[in-house]
């Protein structure tokens, strides 16, 4: 129904980039878009302060805030489609320090509206789901406060009109991710996972920060539209540093979007509650890096094609290695985490191949079906109280709604025709093929095969065969299944927004920007038969192999896996030893010898200095007290006092009490004065 409106509604068709497209400023809808950012932040603050006193521990505020964002994002989306496309930049000056003005600026254009819509809709689904999932949790208020803070931070990031604000949103997203991964911090590995995510992200963020500083200083402004103008003008100063800036920004994106070699944090981040994994570690937060590359895409495309090659290579490595790892995981959330890595690799590689729309389209569709898969996994975990697929099996009968939505999500992810993932993945494969990247195309197809394989495996082990866990699993409540049904609808329908040759709504949306169309790439007008055919073949093969290997003999899965892939197995089971490499190559040397050396320095050198200083001060104090104060100053004061006492003791006998003696003294004194005067006059 919605799709029908979208197919019929969009009036603007791809202009091809030659003629200037006139955009509207969006009126009050765009100038009020700051509300989208502010409302979640205010809600997060309110939950922190008053959440515990509310009947549902603040969940109602959280859901209200993100529902507002979803409605606002949807209204913006439709108004940009119905009109000429909104491009608007608003700013409020927060403070002025000399010549330096601090402003909070927000940009409303096709790209940010797309992100508002995704973040709003997926957040609403995940938040509503979380109300059911977090029932009886130890810290629901803290959870919803952090979760809402995340929504605000993510919207701050995608609405940022300048790089500084983007960085603030970027870091706040990292903070809320840290808080939520470590939500169950009573277990050491959960808080360690949070720290791992934060530290790995932080290392990558240094690249982002340096890139932003170089770009800002070179251009003289941190405002994105100014930088884009310079790109369009082919500014010489920016051209000199463009590759460096692009690579540094990409390093930041590699951290947030968990690209090789920064991918290690994402699987561990599954320690957080499942709604967090669904929203942050599948749909939104990890796409921040993809968003950043897309936002800066003209810079990459026009000035730094070499950096784009780096993007392509990194994306390709990630999509292959993560896909392979997803095959051997037993933890269902980790299967999905590695799958997310692999799909992020597709998005990044697509952008690296110059396919701006394809990369973003995959981001868009992936947000729906991957968050759906995570919510389904959470529903299963909720029912069997275990993350491991070796404790599941046969759940299709007990949990029909979860089963069917999970099937839809898996099919969309694997790229079954006419579901969302089919269109977006096909477009990416087509962009590899048409761009002449034959190796990347081949690896992309192989990974499509792997994707179908591991999703078939996950579905088989979870929903088919015999139930291997304890107790009786039951379907989750409606508060959890309804959001899943909604997202399943999205996973079916959103692919139709960008069918080559038929619809171009998505292309029109994400190219509605202040830069000209040439810098954002062309729109595919027909299916690439080669990509379509090979992709479909990979899908069918993947499902077939998965069915053959995993459908029948689920109970003894792990042992048989070990026998089937003898060479690859140890490598995969140990995650290519990358975590061990980091642990033994970086973490242990740092915390071993270096820490010991610093400890030694501390206890023998610094402590020595401190102790000597202490001893000296102590001696000085003793001298000052005993020698100077007690024997010098106090003695003098005591002697003066004793002298005064002694003198007073002697002199008091003058005071006889006899009036006549006093009178005699008086007269004698008067006489003395008289004689004195007399002598002085004569």
């Amino acid at each position: 129904m919605v799709t029908a409106a979208l197919l019929a509604g969009p009036a603007i068709l791809a202009a091809g980039g030659e003629e200037a497209v006139h955009h509207s400023d969006g009126g009050v809808l765009a100038s009020g878009a700051w509300l989208i950012v502010l409302v979640p932040f205010v809600a997060a603050l309110a939950i922190t302060l008053f959440g515990k006193r509310l009947p549902r521990n603040g969940a109602e505020l959280a859901v209200g805030a993100v529902a507002f964002v979803a409605v606002y994002g949807t209204v913006l989306l439709f108004s940009t489609w119905m009109g000429d496309g909104i491009v608007y930049e608003g700013a409020v000056t927060i403070g002025q320090f000399g010549g330096f003005e601090v402003e909070w600026a927000w940009v409303v254009d096709g790209l940010s509206i797309m992100m508002f819509f995704v973040v709003g809709v997926v957040s609403t689904a995940c938040f509503v789901y979380a109300v059911g999932y977090m029932e009886g949790d130890v810290r629901p208020t803290a959870f919803f406060a952090s979760f809402t803070l995340f929504a605000g931070a993510m919207l701050m990031l995608v609405s940022a009109a300048n790089l500084i604000q983007l960085l603030i949103g970027w870091e706040l997203v990292g903070v809320s991710s840290y808080l939520l991964i470590g939500h169950y911090w009573e277990q050491k590995e959960n808080s360690s996972a949070g720290m791992k995510a934060f530290i790995v992200n932080k290392i990558a963020d240094i690249g982002l920060m340096i890139g932003i500083i170089i770009a800002g200083i070179t251009v003289g402004s941190f405002t994105l539209s100014t930088i884009m103008d310079k790109v369009e003008e082919s500014d010489a100063a920016l051209d000199d540093v463009a590759v460096v800036v692009a690579v540094l920004l990409f390093i930041g994106a590699m951290g947030k979007s968990a690209q090789f070699p920064f991918h290690v944090w994402l699987p561990d981040a599954m320690a957080g509650p499942t709604p967090v994994s669904a929203l942050m570690h599948a749909a939104t937060m990890v796409t921040a890096g993809v968003y950043l590359i897309a936002r800066m895409f003209p810079l990459f495309e026009h000035m730094a094609p070499d950096a784009l090659t780096v993007v392509l290579v990194i994306g390709t490595i990630t999509l292959v290695i993560a896909g392979l790892l997803a095959i051997v995981q037993d933890d269902i959330k980790r299967v999905l985490a590695y799958s997310t890595l692999s799909q992020l690799g597709y998005m990044v590689a697509a952008l690296g191949a110059g396919a701006y729309t394809a990369g973003l389209f995959h981001l868009f569709t992936h947000a729906f079906f991957k968050s759906l898969l995570f919510l389904g996994a959470g529903s299963v975990i909720h029912a069997v109280h275990s993350n491991n697929m070796s404790d599941m099996g046969g759940l299709r009968k007990d949990m029909p709604r979860t089963f069917w939505t999970f099937i839809i999500g898996s099919a969309a992810l694997a790229g079954v025709p006419f579901l969302a993932g089919f269109f977006s993945k096909d477009e990416i494969l087509a962009s590899f093929n048409e761009g002449g990247h034959s190796i990347v195309f081949l690896l992309g197809v192989i990974t499509a095969f792997i994707t179908a394989l591991y999703m078939t495996r996950a579905v088989s082990l979870t929903f088919f065969g015999e139930y291997k866990g304890d107790g009786h699993p039951h379907e989750s409540p409606a508060v959890m299944t309804v959001p899943m049904l909604g997202l399943a609808g999205g996973a079916v329908l959103v692919g139709y927004l960008n069918v080559p040759g038929f619809t171009s709504s998505f292309y029109n949306l994400v190219t509605t920007r202040s830069v000209s169309h040439e810098l954002l790439g062309e729109h595919a007008t027909s299916f690439d038969i080669m990509a379509l055919g090979v992709g479909f073949l990979a899908l069918v093969l993947g499902i077939a192999v998965g069915y053959r290997l995993y459908y029948r003999d689920a109970p003894t899965q792990k042992e048989r896996d070990r026998l089937r892939i003898p060479v690859l197995w140890p490598l995969l089971e140990n995650k290519y030893y990358i975590d061990d490499l980091y642990m033994n190559g970086i973490v242990n040397p740092v915390k071993g010898p270096i820490a010991r050396f610093i400890n030694w320095t501390n206890s023998y050198i610094i402590d020595l200095v401190v102790n000597l200083a202490g001893l000296f001060t102590k001696g000085l104090g003793r001298f000052v007290y005993g020698g100077l104060d007690q024997r010098g100053i106090d003695l003098a004061i005591n002697e003066v006092g004793a002298g005064a006492g002694f003198l007073g003791g002697k002199l008091r006998y003058i005071q006889t009490g006899k009036v006549q003696q006093y009178a005699g003294a008086l007269f004698a004194g008067a006489l003395v004065l008289v004689i004195g005067f007399w002598i002085s006059i004569t």
Partner: protein, 101 residues
């Protein structure tokens, strides 16, 4: 009569007064001696006032003031002496040394 005669008289009275104040033991007589000294001063005031032909009679005015003050002083003094006598059955000034060291 010359001024010297008055001054000699006055000096003699003042000296007798000092002697009385310092040597007498009876508190009443001490007060009496003080009155004598004040009278000597009054004689001096009047004599000098006449001698210098003061047009506003300052010497006489001051003598009148001194008489007034002396009357008040002797009134208070006698009252104190009376109270001391009542308390201690003695007006002997030598014994009044309660304020010594």
């Amino acid at each position: 009569m010359t001024i010297a005669q008055f001054l000699v008289l006055s000096a003699a009275m003042f000296s007798i007064g000092i002697y009385g104040v310092l040597a007498r033991r009876n508190a009443v007589l001490v007060l009496l001696s003080v009155e004598l000294m004040l009278a000597a001063v009054n004689i001096n005031f009047v004599a000098f006032g006449r001698h210098m032909a003061d047009p506003i009679a300052g010497g006489q005015v001051f003598a009148l003031f001194v008489i007034t003050v002396a009357a008040a002083e002797v009134g208070i003094g006698l009252a104190i002496v009376l109270l001391i006598f009542r308390n201690r059955a003695s007006a002997n000034i030598d014994e009044l040394d309660a304020l010594k060291w």
